[in-house]
Amino acid sequence: MSLILSIESATKNCSVALSDESGLISLKEEHSQKYIHAERLHILIKEVIGDRSKDLSAIAISKGPGSYTGLRIGTAASKGLCFALDLPLIALSTLEHMAAQAREEHPGFDYYLPMIDARRMEVYTATFDATGNTLQEAQALEVLEESFNHLSGTVLTLGDGAGKCEGFLQHPSMKFNASFLPSAKGMSLLAHSVLAKKKTVDPAYFEPYYLKEFVAGKPKSLL
């Protein structure tokens, strides 16, 4: 059996899970209006691992897209655990594991649209079908009323980005679940097959998936 610790910190949900192939063993998560990861993440990790750190097979991290601060804390924390315990790292797309969890908890839709709020009318989103195939890769999208009208069938839009799209997107059969949060529970659904296929990454050189290029201003002459 392989035991995996999953860490989800890409949004305001600070979430940690322990799982094996047969499912979730333990889940601890807390969310609030502000980021609490710097205070709470390691406490949750400690509670979830208990005395089983020596039994772990891998650490899984939700790689983004998401909040830079959230990803920063989760990534450095998972690198530290991998280094201390000599474990491989599993990097999962935040949007992909959100869709995996939604398919399990809310089956029956033709399409799943996880959405993470990226301020103003922008969201980080990707499109998945009912079997988990990726139809549209992760993108930072400026949402328009007709953005998803090409999807014919039932659509579940989920995540904090769904909240601001509800009542705005003009799709005929779209449901919204704005209270859905990315969770380490969803990661547990994908992590074990990634480990079985040995598609782990090197924790030394792993970087989060920021999605957007960071642009800083160049200096101007002062004289």
Binding site: I43, R72, T75, A76, G80, F83, A84
Partner: protein, 337 residues
């Protein structure tokens, strides 16, 4: 057996890790970030991302260099603040994971305490300072006069009310069009210049405090006017400008240090922080000590700029006092001395 401490520093733009056995440094690895040169100053988001790339290889290198197995460590020390929050978060989150997974204490170090305590690293070839000691800490973010009564009992008796001395060096260098970080370049150009050619007035501050923003503005206006008359003024006079600016900053610093030493009647003086790598400051500090028969301590170049060895020696004091940190404590960008 002396405790074995792994220390991590990530408060600004250098990622560093060190291993100490007691107060001896077994390794001190520093990865600098060159990405900021393009932008004329440290870009916080980019600094955080660079730390994320460097943290694991740097810690690994420090352990390998020291020949220490991570399972033998007694504690993990890290910089909790002050500094850039995003940068601090990377070191803090990594350090907490190590302490948690290795099941050893976490030590939360104050970056400015650490600069001063670097003087208590035993490198085997110089006597350690006696206490009480008066320390002038000068860096890109801080300018402080600190009385050190014990290694765990320090008091700030004077500090800058605006820019730090190192910030003044870098900002003035930027005004002159020198690449970032410009402070060391001012030192380099000043070697060939006349320090008395251009006069800049000293600030009027209360007590033992400092101020450098007025000097920066004075240099800006002075150069703007000069460039209007003579477009190539900066290039043609760079050595004299640099020498005059440096002379002014060092004079402001040492006047206050002398005043503080007399007032506190302390005869052991020390420099700390990145600007203590400045050659004129080192030389005139030494001369000030010699004139007054004060004992002076100047850190080794490798302990002037940000480094994890100093975090380790500060962590050792916490470890010996059993002042352990907590997983629930977040790093803090501003942290009272």
């Amino acid at each position: 057996m002396q405790p074995l401490i792994l220390a991590i520093e990530s408060s600004c733009d250098d990622t560093s890790a060190a291993v100490l056995r007691g107060n001896e440094v077994m390794s001190n690895v520093v990865a600098n970030q060159e990405v900021h040169e393009l932008y004329g100053g440290v870009v916080p988001e980019l600094a955080s991302r660079e730390h994320q790339k460097h943290i694991l290889p740097v810690v690994n290198a420090a352990l390998i260099k020291a020949g220490v197995n991570k399972n033998k460590l007694d504690a993990i020390a890290y910089t909790r603040g002050p500094g850039l929050l995003g940068s601090l978060l990377v070191g803090a989150s990594f350090a907490k994971s190590l302490a948690l997974a290795l099941d050893i204490p976490l030590l939360e170090v104050h970056h400015m305490h650490a600069h001063i305590l670097a003087h208590f690293i035993d490198d085997g070839n110089a006597p350690l300072p006696e206490l009480p000691m008066l320390c002038l800490t000068v860096s890109g973010g801080h300018t402080q006069l600190v009385v050190v009564r014990e290694t765990t009992q320090m008091e700030v008796i004077g500090e800058t009310i605006d820019d730090a001395a190192g910030e003044a060096f870098d900002k003035i260098a930027k005004i002159m069009g020198l690449p970032y970080p410009g402070g060391p370049l001012i030192d380099k150009h000043a070697k060939d210049g006349d320090p008395l050619r251009f006069k800049f007035s000293h600030p009027k501050t209360d007590g033992l405090n400092f101020s450098f923003s007025g000097l920066k503005t004075a240099v800006l206006y002075f150069l703007r006017d000069a460039v209007k008359e003579e477009p190539d003024f900066v290039n043609e006079n760079i050595a004299d400008i640099c020498a005059s600016v440096q002379y002014t900053i060092v004079s402001i610093l040492l006047n206050r240090l002398k005043q503080a030493a007399e007032q506190q009647q302390i005869s052991t003086l020390a420099l700390a922080g990145g600007v203590s790598a400045n050659s004129e400051l080192r030389q005139r500090f030494q001369e000030l000590g010699d004139e007054n028969s004060w004992k002076t301590f100047i850190p080794d170049f490798s302990y002037c700029t940000d480094n994890a060895a100093m975090i380790g020696i500060a962590g050792l004091q916490l470890f010996l006092a059993e002042k352990y940190g907590e997983l629930g404590n977040a790093p803090t960008a501003r942290w009272a001395f």
